[in-house]
Amino acid sequence: MSTDVILFLGLAAVAIGAALGMLFSRNAVYSALFLILNFATVAVFYLLLGAPFIAMAQVTVYAGAIMVLFLFVIMLLGAEELRKRGKLGWQQPLALLLGFVLVAETAYLVFVRGDLVSQIVPAAADYGTPKDIGILLFDNYMLPFQVVAVLLLVAMIGAIVLTKDDRKIERKTSEEKA
């Protein structure tokens, strides 16, 4: 076995373990930490696949920015401990069924169709360099890129407006009236 395969199997075990830990831990902070571990492992997978840019983006955006905010909210709300019995009624059997279907589908693809690994062509050494991604974004995909930027800006302004203190606005309008 090559080192890549050993590395992949070890990382896969960590990733699956972290995902299960996230699902089954009763403490929301532990769940968040397991999710961070999972994201970090996925980032290493990207590195193995020869996509360092996406790996770094994964760590910065998901493991760094988003999960810090998650952790923040959990801590500030004091919602760490989950109640003993959740209000999951009909969802549980459905989730089990759908999960089983997913596993069956994957197993079918891997074992019946077979030999998927040999069909994968390794990426070129300079594939997905920051320069290439930049040129693609600002050349071929200029318009979608700009639209996404505007969408994100709108979402950000929306979040700020929604959390703005209403009393201040009211006071201002009443002052204007007077």
Binding site: T3, V29, Y30, L33, I36, A40, P52, F53, M56, A57, V59, T60, A63, G64, A65, V68, L71, F72, M75, L76, T129, P130
Partner: protein, 368 residues
């Protein structure tokens, strides 16, 4: 994999960690002596000649201290968070180059662990996960002061990370690369004033980036943001003793406390190294590359072994400035700190990106 390559990597990593740990010990000594000098005191001078063995004495003291775990603490996380603070501080140095390649034992050895084409993004991603140690330490301690300290400092680090990331941009744009080695190479051969005047041969752009206008703004923003990022005065909010006892590490003692302490000082060294690399020409200096001394016409170099020495000197200078700032400025009030980060530093950093774009087009020409 070639076994020699493996040995080389392990040796280089071990040396880097050794340098950082020794550097940490002597940064504390440096800080105490310099602070004493500024405040007209003597400082630690009892252990060894000039007090040089003081860090050793401190280390021994911390090892023999009792370790306490508060009642009601989340034990696993309480144990994990000093490690989570320490590890990013160490691994962030992996992409900082210490020099060009040298020949040793018949092998070409690159001074520095690695040079990746997403080096700057690596710095950002490690900076973004270094918050966890502090916030988890505060949360797991089961102590109100620690909790508040942890939340304060993570809010502060998240806020200043944006300005920090944008302050990287001038160097990236002027060098045209995300690799730190390329950024250093773009900053010339060390005779920076010479290259600043534009009298360099071969058409190579040169000069430290701090001597360009966007680079100067970028360096100023970076330095302020990095002080906040490593929780140094005047942004040492998490350790505001009067308000929060000792902030996130209130409940920590013994070696666990020492790890936080170590993490903070190693982070200081790391951000100083990054600052030097991005704006002060990194490891380059007179003689690192083959270069001609201005007005004398003597050709010197290339001596790549000088690289680590120059970088070390720049780090020491940057650390000195940090300590000087600590001795000079009072701590900011918390709301002003956040306001400064979001309302002043971030817009300035954004404007500086525009300025850099204009600068690059004027002086380096538009390359499509």
């Amino acid at each position: 994999m070639d076994i020699a390559v493996l040995i080389e990597w392990i040796a280089k990593s071990a040396i880097l960690i050794f340098i950082l740990l020794t550097g940490f010990a002597y940064t504390t000594y440096y800080e105490r002596r310099l602070l004493a000098l500024i405040q007209n005191r003597v400082g630690p001078n009892r252990a060894g000649p000039f007090g040089l063995l003081q860090p050793v004495a401190d280390g021994v003291k911390l090892i023999f201290k009792e370790e306490l775990t508060p009642a009601g603490a989340y034990k696993a996380i309480f144990l994990l968070s000093p490690i989570l603070t320490m590890v990013p501080a160490l691994v962030i140095m992996a992409v900082v180059p210490w020099g060009e390649s040298i020949n040793l034992f018949g092998r070409e050895i690159f001074l520095g662990l690695t040079d990746i084409n997403v080096g700057v993004l690596y710095l950002l991603s490690i900076a973004s996960i270094s918050v966890y140690g502090i916030v988890l330490a505060g949360w797991s301690s089961n102590n109100k002061y620690a909790m508040l300290g942890g939340i304060r400092s993570s809010a502060q680090m998240i806020s200043y990370e944006l300005a920090l990331g944008l302050a990287f941009v001038p160097s990236i744009m002027m060098a045209g690369s995300l690799s730190l080695l390329d950024i250093v190479r773009q900053q010339g051969d060390g005779f920076y004033l010479w290259s600043l005047l534009g009298i360099i041969e071969g058409g190579q752009t040169g000069g430290w980036f701090i001597f360009t206008i966007p680079g100067l703004f970028g360096a100023a923003i970076f330095y302020i943001a990095m002080l906040a990022e490593v929780n140094r005065a005047p942004f040492d909010m998490p350790e505001a003793e009067q308000e929060l006892t000792a902030g996130y590490h209130t409940e920590y003692s013994g070696m666990k406390f020492a790890l936080f302490f170590m993490g903070e000082y190693i982070k200081m060294i790391a951000v100083s190294a990054i600052f030097s690399t991005l704006f002060l020409g990194g490891f380059s200096g007179p003689g690192v590359y083959e270069s001609t001394i201005p007005f004398m016409g003597i050709t010197i170099g290339p001596w790549p072994i000088l690289g680590p020495i120059y970088l070390g000197l720049k780090i020491v200078a940057s650390l000195g400035l940090m300590i000087w700032i600590r001795a000079t400025f009072p701590r900011l009030r918390y709301d002003r700190l956040m306001g400064f980060g979001w309302k002043v530093l971030l817009p300035l950093a954004l404007a500086n990106v525009f300025l850099t774009a204009i600068w690059v087009i004027i002086f380096q020409g538009f390359t499509g």
